[in-house]
């Protein structure tokens, strides 16, 4: 099974010109599977953290969105216990003109701007809505606990 030209080109560009704060490396034995690292954005409760994710390009990519999941535990209203991400472009708002790079940039932006009104992790979103300060403190604690080493 040969890799489509698009995936090869995207991978080349990702490695040649990585987006700031983001790295994505394909597995040697499966070039559709990427190890991703996103640095917690500054001025967010995730600052200073290093978050691991996995990204998989399904067979019909780019007609279908990549599958992305957090591997590092994170306290975020739009990311659940299993690391699944609630992001429209990963679901119904996917467009084949989007790329791995743009997807990961969106995930990075989601860390800067949590959206408790469209929650995936209900308890976290509740916390965020009721006492944002306290929720942010918990997120900071989790970042220190799970995303720093």
């Amino acid at each position: 099974m040969s890799l489509p030209k698009r995936i090869i080109k995207e991978t080349e560009r990702l490695i040649a010109e990585p987006a700031p704060g983001i790295s994505a490396t394909p597995h040697e034995d499966n070039l559709r599977y990427f190890d991703v690292i996103i640095a917690g954005p500054g001025q967010s409760p995730f600052e200073g953290g290093v978050f691991k994710l996995e990204l998989f390009l399904p067979e019909d990519y780019p007609m279908a969105p990549p599958k992305v999941r957090f591997l590092t535990k994170i306290y975020h209203p739009n990311i659940d216990k299993l690391g699944r991400i609630c992001l429209d472009i990963l679901k119904d708002k996917w467009s084949p003109a989007l790329q791995i790079r743009t997807v990961l940039l969106s995930v990075q932006a989601l860390l800067s701007a949590p959206n408790p009104d469209d929650p995936l992790a209900n308890d976290v979103a509740q916390h965020w809505k009721e006492d944002e300060k306290d929720a942010i403190n918990t997120a900071r604690d989790w970042t220190r606990l799970y995303a720093q080493n």
Partner: protein, 436 residues
């Protein structure tokens, strides 16, 4: 001191005939000494220094340039409040005396040197309608300094313009003709044979590399450009592009193209060094004299290309528009979904172009909006009428190999799909919406 040295060493690296066109940094520096001395002997030091410290409206030295670049008059415009005498309380006594002293001193100077037209108080260039009186003072050494500087700048500009006009423009135009005949598929009548027998693909590669290395792009230093140029040349050698050329004209043209670029590097060095010399000498002038030529002089010389640094950009721009565009680059004709040539190009209502294959796939998946701008139903409404014929013709002329490859890809994909249909195994289809 340091810069004078660098200037000298740079000069030795450049063509002999360009050397007289350098800014005469040393002479200008000596002239600055004269300015300092003149300011001192004419008792202006007070005026200039109080101005920088004290911003009060009452006593202001304004530094200005009048005349035109060929015959320049730097002036010190010293304001004396018109109603000084009627409202003496408005001013502190000390300041008042200073102004008066200064004015008196100047008047004396004029009397002494009544025969010398350049000295003393100049006529007021324009009618001032406010209630202040102004004295305009012109310093001999200042006049000398700026006329020397503008003369040097004009010389440098003249050489630059001459080089640009006579050398680069004709060189580039000639190259354009040469490369067009050897590389451009459109110039031959025999279309069938043209792309294969010509060096179009090699030239495309050369220009692709040229764009990639960005030899002259961005306002970078000359040494940066030198490194980039070297990288570009090495890459061409590594890929044996010159050797694989079919026609001798091609090889000659490539040689001239490389020569053109190296001579541009030298020119860029000459140009930027001169520019830097002007900036440095103006800074030195300001530091020693307390005046503000660094900001005021460029404003006065505004129309001058010297400060605009447009000359070099013009030449690069010329290369980019006349030469690099002779052959279209594949990147500009790729489908944003599959990243290979957008063959058969379909232009959606929103004017975004995709290859027909990707749009069919999208339609099958019921993704009906434009992938780029999400224009509603743009994909859904597209049909055979959306084929862009002129674009298709252009692609046929310039990208025959890529189209062939794309056709093969499409056939293979089609075969796989047919196979799946026969075996009944389906990988596409609408699976339930799952996250992850």
């Amino acid at each position: 001191m340091k810069f004078a040295k660098t200037l000298e060493t740079t000069a030795t690296e450049l063509p002999v005939e360009w050397r007289p066109y350098f800014i005469n940094y040393k002479l200008l520096k000596k002239c600055i000494n004269k300015i300092v001395a003149e300011i001192e002997t004419r008792g202006l030091i007070h005026q200039i220094t109080t101005d920088s410290k004290d911003n009060s409206e009452t006593q202001k030295v304004e530094y200005m340039f009048s005349g035109d670049p060929g015959n320049l008059h730097p002036l010190l415009k010293i304001a004396i409040e018109g109603n000084d005498l009627s409202e003496p309380d408005a001013l502190s006594g000390e300041q008042l005396t200073k102004v008066n002293l200064g004015a008196a001193h100047l008047n004396v100077t004029e009397c002494h040197n009544g025969s010398h037209h350049n000295l003393g108080i100049s006529p007021i260039p324009e009618a001032e309608s406010d209630d202040r009186n102004y004295i305009y003072v012109e310093l001999d050494s200042e006049v000398e300094f700026f006329n020397m500087l503008t003369k040097d700048m004009n010389n440098a500009m003249e050489l630059s313009e001459q080089v640009q006009r006579e050398q680069y423009q004709t060189d580039i135009s000639n190259l354009q003709k040469q490369i067009s005949t050897v590389a451009n598929a459109l110039t031959t009548s025999d279309r069938q044979a043209s792309p294969k027998n010509k060096d179009m693909y090699i030239w495309r590669e050369i220009f692709r590399l040229y764009i990639e290395w960005k030899v002259f792009q961005g306002a970078q230093s000359t040494s940066y450009s030198k490194d980039k140029m070297q990288g570009f040349v090495e890459e061409i050698e590594k890929m044996k592009l010159m050797k694989s050329m079919k026609s001798n004209t091609s090889r000659r043209a490539l040689k001239s193209f490389l020569e053109l670029n190296s001579s541009l590097l030298v020119f860029s060095q000459f140009y930027t060094t001169n520019q830097m010399a002007v900036t440095k000498i103006l800074k030195k002038h300001d530091k020693r004299s307390g005046l503000t030529a660094s900001s005021d002089f460029p404003v006065f010389m505004q129309k001058d290309v010297f400060f605009a640094s447009g000359m070099l950009e013009m030449v690069y721009e010329f290369i980019n528009t006349k030469l690099v565009t002779i052959i279209p680059q594949l990147e500009d004709y790729c489908c944003p979904v599959c990243y290979s040539i957008a063959w058969r190009p379909i232009r959606l209502a929103c004017s975004h172009v995709f290859c027909v294959r990707c749009l069919i796939k999208a339609q099958k998946k019921n993704m009906l909006n434009c992938p780029i701008c999400r224009a509603e139903k743009a994909v859904g409404n597209a049909d055979a009428n959306n084929l862009d014929h002129s674009l298709q013709n252009l692609m046929q002329t310039y990208f025959s190999r890529e189209i062939k490859e794309k056709r093969k890809e499409n056939e293979r994909e089609q075969a796989i799909q047919d196979c799946q249909a026969i075996t009944g195994r389906q990988y596409t289809g609408d699976e339930a919406c799952i996250i992850m």
